[in-house]
Every structure is written in C-alpha cells, then in structure tokens.
Symmetry: C2
Subunit: 564 residues, 2 copies
C-alpha cells in the first residue's frame, strides 16, 4: 500500500476530510488536494454568523480550534498533505489515471497521476436566468468571497434594504445575518411556504415568527427580473409584478452538484445530477471515489436517491472516501435521513426523516401528531416547542419529526434522528429514559410526551384534528362547535375568535347541558396546547357525544390570524 | 369497567400521574388519591432551584403550567379525582380489597375499598444513625417542608457555613443551591469519588471544577457525629476526625423505598427493598399496582433489579400503572437504562447506560474511549465536553456514555440514551445524521466524533491509554516517554510538567531523530484533546516505533495537578 498516490479534487469540506483520513490510514501515501479557491477547509456554514457580526475575526472561519490557519503550509507540516490552491482540475484521464490541472494564477497546466482519485467538487448555487442577473449588488452565499462581500456590505452601512430570494436554510440564515446588521430585509419564496422540509403548518408558524421580527415574507413569488441603474441593483421585480426597491439581493434558491468533470470522464451520474456512488463512496470507476455536495446519496427511509448538500454529511462521506481510497472496501456511508436545522433569532426549526408531505409522496401509510409544550418547567423559564411526528400506521415505526420554536429544538431533533436511525417505534419512545433534571427538561421530556400523544392517537383514544382541517371546517355549511376549555383569564389574553364556546375544563362536567343536545354534532376541543382539550374530549365522549375531536397543538399551533 | 374504584396511595409524582391516566382511560371510574403530605404533585426536583433563588414564587412548585395550584379542588374539578391530603394509608386488607386510612389532622380512621389499588408511596431519605442526628439545623432535601426550611435558612442570611453530606445528584444540587445563596459550603462523601454514576476520572474532573468554585470536597469520609450546642448544630465530625464548624447540614446519602405497607400486606418485596412489579407495574397481587420510588425495576442492560428513584421514571411508571389499573394488561414499562444528569453552576454531568465500572462488575467485555472536544465551533463560543463511551467489544453495541463539562451535556446524553435504548452499535453512530448548524453543533457532532474514536480504537488504529494509566506508569521503574505535540504557545499556557517532551505535530516528521533510538520504547502522545496526539502516534508507528499510544482526551481529560 505504501507510496500510494491519493489525489483529492476539492478542498472545502469533504475533500480535506478525505485527505486527512487517507493520511491517517497510511502515513506513507502521497496525498494531494487540488483546490480551485484560494482557501482551504472553510467553515462555510459559519458565513452567516460572520456576516451578521456574531463574531468579527474572519480567520476563525479558516483555522483549527487552536487558531492555526488551515493553509497549504499547515497541511504540509501537520498532515504531510500537499494542498494546491487556486488550481483547477480540468480533465480526468481514467485510463492513464491522470488528472490535468491548471494553475489559475499562471494558467499553466500539468498532469498529476493517481492510484485513487477522490472527487469532492462541491455544488454551485443556482442563479435564476432572469434579466438583470449580473447587476452589482446580487450575490449568493456560498464562497468565502460571498461572505466577504456581504460582510463588507453590512459594515459599510450603505445597504438600506436587502431582498433574500429563497426561503430555505441558507435564505433564512442570510436573512437573520442581514437583519442583525440592521439592514431592512425581505424574503421572497417561489413555493407556498418557507423551509420546504417542514409541513405547511409548521412552516407557517415559523413564518409568523419571522414576520413578527419585522421581516416581510413574499410567498408564491419568483423573481421576474432584477432592475438596476448604472449597473447597480435598484429593485427586484417579483412574478406578482411587485417591485421591491433594494440595494442588495442574496440568491439562495438551491445548489446543483458539480458533476461535469465526472460526467466528462464518463462516470455515471444519477438522476439528481449528482455523481453516483455506492456505500463505499465509490463511483462507477473503482479507483475513483466521490463525496460531499457533488454526489447523490440514498434516503434511508425511502431508498430513493437524493441530493443532500449538508456540511455534516460531506464530512462523514469524505471520511469514508478517504479510508477506502487507501484500503479499498473498508468503511461505508449508508445514506441520510435528511436531518436539518436552522436558527433565526430566538427561534429554531429542525427536521429529521420524512415530513407528512414527503411520507405521503412516497406512498407511506402514516399517522401524524402535533405536540406543543415547553422544553423545561416554567420555573426554569421553559420555552415553547411545537413538534410534529410522523409514524408508520401499521408498525408504529417513527418516520419523521419536525420541531420549531424558541425552545431547545436541537436536542429534540437529535433524539428523533437517533431514534429513526435505529428504526425505533413509537412504543420504544413512550418509555425512553432520557436525562432529566429541571435545568434540562420536563419530567416527561417533550419528545416522550410527543410519543405519548402518538400512542394515544394510534390506540384511538386521542382523536386529533389538525388546525388546518379545523380552519377548513369552519368555512363549511355545517361547521363544528369549537370548545375552548381554558380559564377565562387565558381566554381574555388570547383567543381564536372564530365563534368558539368557552367552558373551562374545571367546570365542564357540571355544564354539559350547555353543549348541543344532538350527540352526533361534531365538537372540537382545545386549550393552549390541547392537553386539557384532550381531557375535555374524553369527558364528552364518556357522556355520549359521538363526534368529538381534539385540535392538535391547541392555540399554540394555530397559524392563522387570531382575535387576540 | 364503568364505576371501577381506583385507589392511589401517594400524591407526589407517580401517584398523581397514575390517577390522571386512570381517569383518562375511564371517565366513569372513581379515582381517589391518598396523600400523607399537605401538598400534591410537587415539582420536587425543582426544590434546589427554589432554595438557590433561581425563582422566588414557591407556588411554581405546586401549580400547572397555566398557574393553577394542584390542590384537592383542582383535582376534583379538572380531573374528577378525589385527593385526600394529610391522610395516611395504614394498612391494606387484600382479601376485603380495602385500605385503612387515617386523617392526620383528626386522627380518625376509616376504610376505603378498591377494585384496583396503586401504591406510589415513594422513598425516604436515609439519615446516618450517628450521635447528634436530631440537632436543629440538620435536614434532608426531599419534602416541601425541607425546601421551605432551606429556603428560609438562605433568606435569613444567618447560616454562614453548611455541610452537604453525600455527593450524589441531590447532594450536588443542594451544594449549588446553598452556594448560590452565598453560604460557604463543603461536601462530604464516603466514597472515593463524587457522583457514583460516573467513572472515577470523569468524577475527578467534575470535582476539580467544583473545587474551582470554592467548594471544599472531602472524600472517603463519613459522618462520625453531629456536634451541637443547646440543641443546635455547631459542627460535623468526619470519620477522619476532622471537625467542620457549620450552622447547617444537608443529608443526601440516598433514599430507601417505602415498601413497609406493601410488605405488611404480604406483597413480594425485591432484593433492593423495593416492591416487586412486572412490566405492567403489577405487584404479586394482580389487583395491586405500584410505581415510582417505592418499586424496583429492571436495568435493561444487565437484567438486574435496581432501585431507580428518578422523577421521570416515576411519571412513566405511574402512567403504566394508571392505565393497567383500568384495563388490566395494557401498557408496559420494561425498565431503565439509568440515565441521569445534574447541573452545578456552569457545568453539567450526565450518564446513561453502564459506566466502565458497572459494566465490568456485570462481567461485560468492553472497550472504552474518551473524547474531549467542544459542542460548537469556536466562532459560536463552543464549550468543552468530555465524554466517555463504553461499548461491547464483540458486538460493538453501545452500553453506556458519560458526559461532563460546560457544554451541552444534556443533548449528548439524550442522543446516547436513545441509541442505547435502540440497541445501536458504534457503527450505527459513526454515520449518525444529526441536526447540524453552527449555533447547535460542530459539523461532526461531539457524539459522532466519540463514535469515530471508538471505531478507530476497536479497529486497532487508535491505541489509547487512559490518563489514570499514564499517571501510574509515570511512577514505574521504566516510565514511558510522554510526547506533547501541541504548539509552544499552548505549552507555555498550560502543561502537565511530568517530564514530557514537546515536539509540535507540524515539525514532528522532521524531528523524529530526537525520539528514542530504541523502537520498543513506550511513547505516549497527546495534545489538548489528543486528536493531534492520535495523528502523531500514527506518524511514529509508520516510522517504526512499536509501542506508541495516545493519551485519551489529552490535557483536557487530565484530572491530576498540572504544572500550569
């Protein structure tokens, strides 16, 4: 094995990880990284926080935990890896096992030979092909140069208003960064909701929060054109016709895998446009591996191939590619369950596994449940979480979970991601043994309470109805009776105002005669989070009403306008 | 089923949960709670935070999230449950299915009949039977009265110095509470370490932190006597002979299950002293259930019966008992993996599954690994975590994890608890798909990095040695060479000072001739957290040294005195 030549194309995330792993697997291998950018191993997920002024030392994006910049000298000295920056790989000769590279400073080309080649060519942000595309003031948020441009724009204080195009993870993070810098910011999204990984209602709750932070959200709106003066952006014209005046636009409508080099070399490309790899991260050529944003991977819940350009997966894939470039068939990366999270001000939104939408699109027979409750006790200033869980109806296997709110979303998603990875069922999670003390959680953790609700629902005890369905039903010919069972003080403070009846749970049993005589009448019970709503529904059912349901998540999950 | 009489003895945690669950399962059941205390459903795990002044509204310990005090009226109105406080259950007549109860205010007794009985009698703090035991100023921390007593002592500002006896979860929390109130506090512990659920070295790191907060820790010391004047505590005399002057002592040396009532009724009691139950929470009498601190449960990893008096489990067990009291054999509670966590100032310490100690005691063939690394990137002010993982050598199944430090311990333990619950292996966690964004974690989460280290260790690539072993080896005839591979600036800032050699990783390959010519010489490499130490070890091995190891966790895991 000794002396094996490992060539890595790409030096951002998957590439350096693969190179470092190859080095650790074989001290005597020759490991070389070819990187187009001037930078190596950038913490690119940190750009929004640098732009937003969460920290000011740009070097922190480029250095090790002990403060050493990860430049070619560092790679050479600490890892005995040759890293050639500002160098582009232009062609792969698979037969000769050589890669032609071009020094971007001198334009000189040369050929480098390899025993194993690792492609970590990343992805490129998509830019809508509309007029004005090339005006000054339009940027993506992917490269160090983008980060520098945006940080400067923020520091200069000359940008008054920005439009972020695309309300996915990057768009939302960009939005936060700009807003933190005092720039008036608007988001535009083509779809009918922000954050496509969430189901509509969950996304709506996040959208409501974002609006509450004085950020305008324009949904179902693409960009028709960028309008400018003297080469500078002055406005964004939406497909609705609306023109939003602005000095800056951040385009974050997704990325496409950089698979051209692989394709030209005759490697198999998947349907998503990503390089096709097996679990060893091996392409259709057994001497060529690929990892990171340029590949497609398997969704472990649907078995479908997906493009999953996440920084954490890039590292895991790179580690596998680096090992196998040395040992052949060692480590494996089986795929993703598409876990993701983002922060926006004091709110977080996360997901793992399948949303209801994705599960149904994949033909799954599912049950869903909503839980709105705090992450910690009130006396430890617990903060609200709203979770939605998706489980297989027949087996009870957990297929997905979403969580949003000011509470500790990250822990909830980590729990569900681990449960899904392990193929756990609702019954497994009902008695989960999680770390409990008041500074960290409720005695029954939010995740376990979510499993309890799901268990009750699957057993037919909790007959839930989503806020969306309730909202639709209210417009029907024969709307249901909405029964709010909170206290009068809570009702005064906040209420739906859709013609609901207020009977607090504590007096419900003595005031049953106020309810419809017709025991077939549909009654929908709720409270703040619908725990009391659930208890009320059980009281009504036990007293003969036959069509009683609980509005899941209660008022806290209601994404529509309220009376108060 | 309708009209079934459910009698619950105990109104703190498991009891009210069981009663509420029984009510939800059957609106027409007669549900009664018998509670000895004047209070119901107290958030007893919150006492330390009330005592320490984290919040001042005592009612928050007793009320629902919407602020309604959980008193008998609340139970009657909201849940149609009769809750009789200050009432003691004195005997069970299983044949007649009756319980004799005594009103503690009037001393009147009466008999209550039941169809299903649920025992949730809790546990009693152990008080060492030593002289001076009954002096004023000695308390436990278990009841509302204890909390009131301690809060008053803190508010009065008359207590200058306190001794906490027992350094388990409650002792540590008591210690934090008293210190936050400005009381000089000392902890005394009989064992050779604090927090018995941790392995020695992990406990030592927490102990070092506690000492850094100006709290004295006396290990291997029991209480010989309490010394007083005029009936008031003046000092605690330790078994070492040391007398510590103090005005207050909090005894937290464990609890014993209140199983006397069950035992007198002829119910089977387990070896731990807890009431024996099956997975349905049914005692040896099929009409009597038990839940909470009065029972013993199965440790799911050892199959041994344990006493696990945790508030979260009490709730889960109560839920199962309450359901089965109505339906017979419905829900199950299979057992515990003994997950626990506590906070002390800006530090947390958590555990799940088996410690190395516990695993070895149970005859497991295991591998352990230590990981010291931050929870988040440096630019997001990541905080250190030190984790120890225990896995089965043959199957790779994860058996336990401990985590301590200023970082987000709770999430780490939640991840491991879910993985252990699901029977996951190290290989499963190596490619875990967790929620990543810089505000929440590193690109490779601390838990995944821990799994990577374990994978490397199990594959024989990482030849680790614990700091304890290193410390012992240094005292031997032929001590190993300790090789610090950090930078000179890091070395100047902090170092072991045990005769180590400093050669930074970046120059190691060019300075190999400075290392022992004898390739059999034992060399132990380390850095701050031993990632560079691992890389250094691979360099040395590749260059012919045959006896190279990595000190796990690096300097961050070194619990002994350092030079700087």
């Amino acid at each position: 094995m000794t002396g094996r030549k490992i060539l890595v194309i790409g030096g951002s995330a998957a590439g350096p990880k693969a190179a470092a792993r190859a080095r650790r697997m074989d001290e005597h291998a020759e490991v070389t990284i070819i990187q187009k950018s001037a930078y190596l191993s950038m913490a690119s997920c940190g750009y929004p926080y640098y732009i937003g002024g969460v920290f000011d030392d740009r070097n922190m994006l480029l250095c090790t935990p002990t403060g050493v910049v990860r430049d070619p000298e560092f790679y050479l000295k600490a890892k005995k890896i040759v890293a050639r920056v500002q160098t582009e790989a232009v062609a792969i000769d698979r037969e000769a096992k050589k890669v032609r590279v071009k020094d971007l400073k001198t334009s000189q080309e040369e050929e480098l030979s390899y025993d194993s080649l690792i492609l970590a060519t990343g992805a490129t942000p998509i830019r809508p092909p509309v007029p004005g595309n090339d005006l000054e003031g339009i940027t993506t948020l992917q490269s160090m140069e983008d980060a520098d441009f945006l940080r400067k724009a923020c520091d200069n204080k000359q940008v008054k208003k920005a439009v972020v195009i695309g309300a996915g993870l990057i768009g939302i993070e960009a939005c936060e960064a700009l807003r933190l810098s005092g720039i008036e910011t608007v988001i535009v999204e083509k779809a009918s909701q922000i954050l496509a990984f969430l189901d509509w209602k969950m996304a709506k709750l996040v959208e409501n929060y974002i609006r509450s932070q004085n950020i305008d959200v324009h949904l179902e709106n693409g960009v028709e054109a960028f309008l400018g003066e003297e080469g500078k952006l002055k406005a964004v014209k939406l497909s609705s016709g609306l023109e939003i005046a602005c000095d800056l636009a951040v385009v974050a409508v997704g990325v496409k895998p950089n698979s051209a080099l692989a394709q030209e070399a005759g490697l198999e490309i998947g349907k998503t446009g990503g390089v096709l790899v097996d679990d060893y991260m091996r392409t259709s050529d057994p001497d060529i591996f690929a990892a990171g944003d340029c590949i497609e991977v398997k969704n472990l819940l649907t078995d479908r191939k997906i493009h999953a350009p996440y920084g954490d997966l890039a590292n895991l894939e790179g580690r596998v590619a680096g090992e196998n470039a040395i040992v052949g068939k060692g480590a494996t990366f089986p795929g993703s369950i598409q876990t993701g999270i983002c922060k926006i001000f004091d709110y977080s939104a996360g997901t793992t596994g399948l949303s209801e939408k994705a599960a149904r699109q994949n033909g799954k027979d599912i049950v869903t449940v909503i839980n709105a409750s705090p992450d910690k006790p009130g006396f430890m200033t617990g903060r609200l979480l709203v979770s939605k869980m998706v489980a297989d109806r027949k087996t009870g296997r957990i297929l997905g979970a979403q969580c949003i709110g000011p509470g500790d979303v990250s822990k909830q998603i980590a729990i569900w991601a681990t449960a899904i990875k392990g193929g756990l069922s609702v019954e497994d999670m009902v008695n989960a043994d999680l770390p409990y003390a008041p500074p960290f959680s409720l005695a029954i953790d939010h995740s376990i309470a979510t499993a309890h609700l799901m268990q009750n629902k699957m057993a037919g005890r909790l007959k839930g109805v989503s806020v969306l369905e309730v909202h639709d039903k209210l417009k029907s010919e024969n709307p249901p009776l909405l029964l709010d069972v909170r206290g009068p003080d809570e009702y005064d403070e906040i209420r739906l105002g859709v013609g609901e009846v207020l009977i607090p749970l504590g007096v419900l049993r003595e005031r049953l005669e106020e309810l419809p005589k017709n025991k077939e009448k549909e009654i929908i019970c709720y409270c703040k989070i619908s725990l009391r709503g659930y208890e009320a529904a059980l009281v009504l059912e036990a007293n003969g009403w036959k069509n009683v349901r609980v509005m899941e998540g209660g008022i806290m999950a209601w994404p529509f306008p309220r009376e108060k």
